[in-house]
Subunit: 212 residues, 4 copies
DNA sequence: TATGAATGAGCCTTCATTCAT
DNA sequence: AATGAATGAAGGCTCATTCAT
């Protein structure tokens, strides 16, 4: 019960810390954990290596912090998504679209997740914030599906967790693997048009599937 | 204009080469490209580093070779999947199941893809074999959907490429991110039961979506 | 000719200075000069690094100051040892015992000396206080031996400086090397009983040797 | 019972290893463990850092190896000291002289011991060779004293271990602290004449003490 | 073909020291 | 007088790669 509260940082220190985190996010997303260079992070951040270690202790702790913040950022945006007042189909479409857009807009987050999974979630498991990483969207989804099933708009045999994973996967795979897919298909999946096409598709897949 | 055909390897040399590739696949999947250790690969393979360099020239060339072989292996199995004689729904279910199972059975392949995408497919783009990496399943899919649409079993407005990506994504994301998902959901997604549940779900999603 | 007399310190500043010196003594004795950490000294002292540098200028100056004070402390205690009124044998025993006990009670002093000798006395030679480090015991010893020789109790062919070094060495080596000796002999030389046994021995050695 | 015997080194590797050990001994003796620089050791040895780590794994392991070898070297010379055939007083004088001369001739050994004691013998305690570090001289000493006591030449109440420590200390302190002593006394203890004077003294002390 | 030994660049981390308030 | 933040140099260690046999 006596969590050593770290003394509040001065504004200057907080700014330095933030700059390091931003630089680290970019570098980690670009090169992974093992491939990232501490020198590069320090240089990009405008700080120096010593500050990096003063704030985070090690490259690995920095990685974990960056990862936690990436999750926190997504959860924060998710909390802004309010679908309670929408009819089920619209609500569902909105959730699906939100996820695709967020994923497409944040390929760094995708890159972090991929890397963390390469490490078998070893860092995430050490995080004290894991519970906070549970997505509010899972509950939204559960609620929307219940409303849809009751009204007869949706089928009633759906496991919300499976659907949540599906919803994420439809966007994540497309973003995460856009480079290999683009190479093999010989067409650029990174354009706005490609995103819109994907968006139409994934909404149709989910709503099509949910028809009773 | 006169591509030096590499002289055929002796049986012994070929075996050494193969052992190195196997060891490299394991090490790369476990630790990524930057995180993999040449020493470890040499040790695992029972060969020594000099052999590794004699055969592959550099760690990066070895990576590319491993990646190409992983694609080739999947394509080879895909070519065995014959759905031409099956009714559309069954054919589709079979394709979906094949992909999920292959993905679940080969997490190393997933890990390789993730890493290669971290590198923005830089190595793949240097490969001379890219065309061979185009999946025969895309054409199978196109064919099955045409048959389904004609018979009225499937809707007719589906882009096969999008569906292909969806089909892959439904399994890939679940496998690729099983460690973070397991951590956050507090349940192990690596069990046989979890795989079966996922399999039922993804087949239902695709077939449900394809209903006219 | 106008040595800047340092302005007298405020009571508070003097206290800070003292705490830093105490912390430095402990840290230096524990880890040597190169192994000691300025951060650690600052933390232990309850002050901060800036104060440390304000008072002492550098780690090396701090080392020298600590060393000078350790010598001064021993010399101060030595000056309290009054043997002029004792018969020669008793006087000698007292000097021998004093040295052993002081050494055993101040292993930090021993550690400092060892370290300083590793540095070939480079810091001590820069000290302005070297003359003050000449032990009053050398003169006591000379006096006692003269009295003993005259009375016929002691042999007359003893070089007081050699005997002084011997007297110190009998205790110093035992204290300085108690860890390696304990390890090799498999018994703890740090106990009170071990000290008493050593005390009996060294007194016997010196008095035995001094018999005419 | 199945100690992984390290594969025998090639002559070249053994030579490299030896050069590293020699360079390390010099550097450690000069600067202590914390003060020693791995770069310097590598440079002095004519090898490079990588080889140092290939052979010894870490600076600390290298330290331990150097320490073990220094002990082994002294024990090897000690084993050559044969006093069984000499009359007790001569035998004892020889042991005392041997120790002083060895110590004076090997100030690096003294420096190593001092450093290791700063570390509270932490490395030595991890050594598998501790038993081999027990000095054969302790037994020689016991034997000589028994002979001397029986013949009436020596007193009979002497603890051999105490005398052993005394014998070592008489030389060790003088060598270990020669820099601070020279500074304080204002005369160089490193000369040949100084050594001879010390030698006469320590032999007299021991033999004088042992008189019945 | 195969191997043990060697290399130099570079990586993560730490240190004594100084700046700005 | 005192402090938190910052710095650059350097330290121990590791890596992919190559040499010599």
């Amino acid at each position: 019960m006596e969590d050593q509260l770290p003394r509040p940082l001065s504004a200057r220190a907080a700014a330095t810390r933030q700059r390091i985190l931003d630089a680290a996010l970019a570098e980690f997303a670009l090169n992974g954990l093992a491939g990232a260079r501490v020198d590069e992070i320090a240089a990009r951040s405008g700080a120096n290596k010593r500050m990096l270690y003063a704030h985070f202790g090690s490259k690995e702790e920095l990685w974990l912090t960056v990862l936690e913040r990436a999750y926190a950022a997504k959860r924060a945006e998710e909390r802004e998504v309010d679908v309670d007042h929408l009819p089920p189909a619209e609500a569902m479409a909105r959730l699906v679209r939100f996820n695709l857009r967020y994923t497409a807009a944040h390929p760094e987050f995708v890159a972090l997740l991929n890397q963390e999974n390469i490490h078998r979630a070893a860092y995430l498991q050490r995080s004290a914030e894991v519970p906070a990483m549970y997505s509010p969207l899972v509950d939204s989804l559960r609620d929307v599906m219940a409303r849809g099933a009751e009204s007869g708009e949706f089928r009633g045999d759906v496991d919300p967790m499976q659907l949540y994973v599906t919803m994420l996967g439809l966007g994540h795979f497309w973003v995460a693997n856009r480079h290999t897919l683009s190479t093999i298909f010989g067409q650029d999946l990174g354009t706005g048009a490609a995103l819109e096409a994907r968006e139409r598709h994934v909404v149709e897949v989910v709503l099509g599937y949910l028809r009773p």
